[in-house]
Amino acid sequence: MFFYLLRRLLYAVPIALAVGFVCFMLVQIAPGDPINAIVPPDAPQDVVEQVRKDYGLDKPLPVQFGIWLWKVVQGDLGRSLATGRPVWSDLHSAIGNTLMLAAAASMLGFVLGCILGGLAGTFRGSLLDRAAVTVAVAGVSVPHYWLGMVLVVIFSVQLNWLPAMGAGPGGSSDWVWNWEHIQHLVLPAVTLSVIPMGIVTRTVRGIVAEIMNQEFVTALRGKGLTSWNIFLHVVKNAAPNALAVIGLQLGYLMGGSILVETVFSWPGTGLLLNSAIFQRDLPVLQGTILVLAMFFVGLNLVVDLIQTTLDPRIKRA
């Protein structure tokens, strides 16, 4: 196990480096001089040249990448063009909010998906199965930013039950565990949860149906076990794959919440990205994407390790 862990960690290093390189290149592929990502467009020429030298932008690309990487490793993601503040200072509170939203949505999606998928897999071919499959297909086909708008129309505009915008009363972005704040989380989390719900339903349905067809289930039934006990056996066998799916979904939602955050003005990384795109604030764009992608790389690693620990049948190759 130790060597597996070591190998898996070592394998993540080149991936992380390459992800860093892709993020570095984002500023390079942007139209115009990358110096525009650091100095405002109305800066005088001699300042531009000075900054170009200070930032090493007159050096060859691989050297620039090295300098950039060294700064990133030290936690320096550059400064925002729009606000002048370090990128990280805006980013770290946004990440907390996005993580909160993504975790709530994946939890909701996971629970619903497991119930639907488990029922569908157990009673395969029944009306219930068809209904669950329909819900699953709808879940992965729905443009969730639109679903968010529809929920706002129903629950905020028509019924006036839940707030439509922000993460707290008066546009506050600091999270507190009380109903004033939680009610802001409901609509975005439900909206975002339809994707993992659909995917988990499909996966769990497949896994459960496959397990129910295996001989050991027949044997358990022959032994006279109650359905509850058989259910426990099925859960034990289905859990590693289902957990792996939802673990990755958490990562996808962290990166993919930009649309939902835009709809609900949720003060997370998505909203940050959105305003960075509008203001062509490339350092913020680059830093946010780098941190989210690194989170995803780390999550992949953790999911892999948990899955291998839970299910020793998976080859540690």
């Binding site: 080149p14 991936i15 992380a16 390459a18 992800v19 892709v22 993020c23 984002l26 500023v27 592929i29 942007a30 139209p31 297909v137 709808a138 992965v140 086909s141 729905v142 443009p143 930013y145 639109w146 679903l147 708008m149 529809v150 706002v152 129309v153 505009v157 028509q158 990562g251 996808y252 962290m254 990166g255 993919g256 930009i258 649309l259 835009t262 709809v263 990205l273 959105n274 960075a276 795109i277 509008f278 062509r280 490339l282 764009l285 994407i289 989210l292 992608a293 995803f296 790389v297 992949n300």
Partner: protein
């Protein structure tokens, strides 16, 4: 004697014809199975009808898609002359939804088609060549897998700036890696089968083997997988426009229309969500047709 011979040979000929018919039977079988799938057929009909309507747009729409009027902004559904109401600039919704389908379909299908070409080429190359080339292509693919797809699309088109071509480029880059993975794995599976060895032993060049023996066996699964990406691509493309990254106003496109109508949900909520209904219906139909195709072609996964 001769009559029996003729009868026998006639029967043989019939049998031979049947055998030929059977050997051509793969696609016939796929079609037969697909025909028995009412959901997939119904969705395919909906898609074909939509395609017809958006292609015939200039001849059937009642109004000009760009011509608005401040006098008739945000009318409700069922207004005379404007059956689906008007948008925030007083343009006819029905007209704009029909025209919007053109760009939305274009941006849903073109990136997948491009990614299908590029991904199949690279994936088959990696799978068939094996060794270092495989290693190189697959490790680069791994890097792009380290980004959640929405994030990658937003990152690339965000850096390149708004515009249809940039959005298409970004979406293509998002879908190439998964297609490479599928293409590589099916090609690796086919490469070690006996008939490929036989072809090699009979002196066929690598190019001929790939063209005749490999492609025929791998294109089906890759194609089915790619069709399942169209729905995702359409949602993502409209999502980019929704963020202001894809199409630019005043061009009608479903995602962009949702964006510009966002503030109108307090005035005419049901008109404002119409473009999303179009995206939803199209995307669910593409998904179900793709599911039907997968089952009919008996592709695993």
């Amino acid at each position: 004697m001769s009559t029996t011979t003729t009868a026998a040979s006639a029967e043989l000929a019939v049998q031979a014809r049947q055998a030929v018919a059977k050997s051509q039977g793969y696609w016939a079988g796929v079609w037969k199975r697909l025909r028995r799938d009412p959901v997939a057929i119904a969705c395919a009909c909906v898609l074909l009808a939509m395609l017809f309507v958006i292609l015939a747009a200039p001849w059937i729409v009642p109004h000009d898609p760009y011509q608005g009027s401040m006098m008739r902004r945000l009318r409700p559904m069922g207004t005379p002359n404007y059956p689906l109401g008007t948008d925030e600039l007083g343009r006819d919704m029905l007209t704009r939804l029909i025209y919007g389908g053109r760009l939305s379909w274009f941006m849903g299908i073109v990136p997948v088609a491009l990614a299908f070409l590029a991904g199949t080429t690279l994936g088959v190359l990696a799978g068939f060549a094996g060794g270092r080339l495989n290693m190189l292509i697959m490790r680069v693919t791994d890097v792009f897998y380290a980004f959640p797809s929405v994030l990658l699309a937003v990152a690339i088109s965000g850096a390149l700036g708004a515009g249809i071509m940039n959005a298409i480029l970004a979406l293509t880059l998002v879908f190439v890696p998964p297609i490479i993975r599928v293409a590589e794995s099916v090609t690796t599976g086919v490469r070690n089968l006996d008939f490929v060895d036989a072809a090699r032993a009979s002196g066929a060049s690598a190019f001929t083997i790939v063209r005749v023996h490999v492609l025929g066996n791998v294109l089906g699964p890759i194609f089915v997988y790619s069709t399942s990406l169209i729905s995702v691509c359409m949602i993502l493309a409209s999502g980019l426009s929704f963020l202001g990254l894809g199409t630019r106003p005043p061009e009608p496109e479903w995602g962009l229309m949702l964006n510009t109508l966002r503030t109108a949900i307090y005035v005419q909520p049901w008109v404002a969500v119409l473009p999303g209904v179009c995206i939803f219906v199209t995307s669910i139909c593409f998904n179900l047709v793709s599911d039907g195709l997968r089952q009919a072609m008996d592709v695993k996964g």
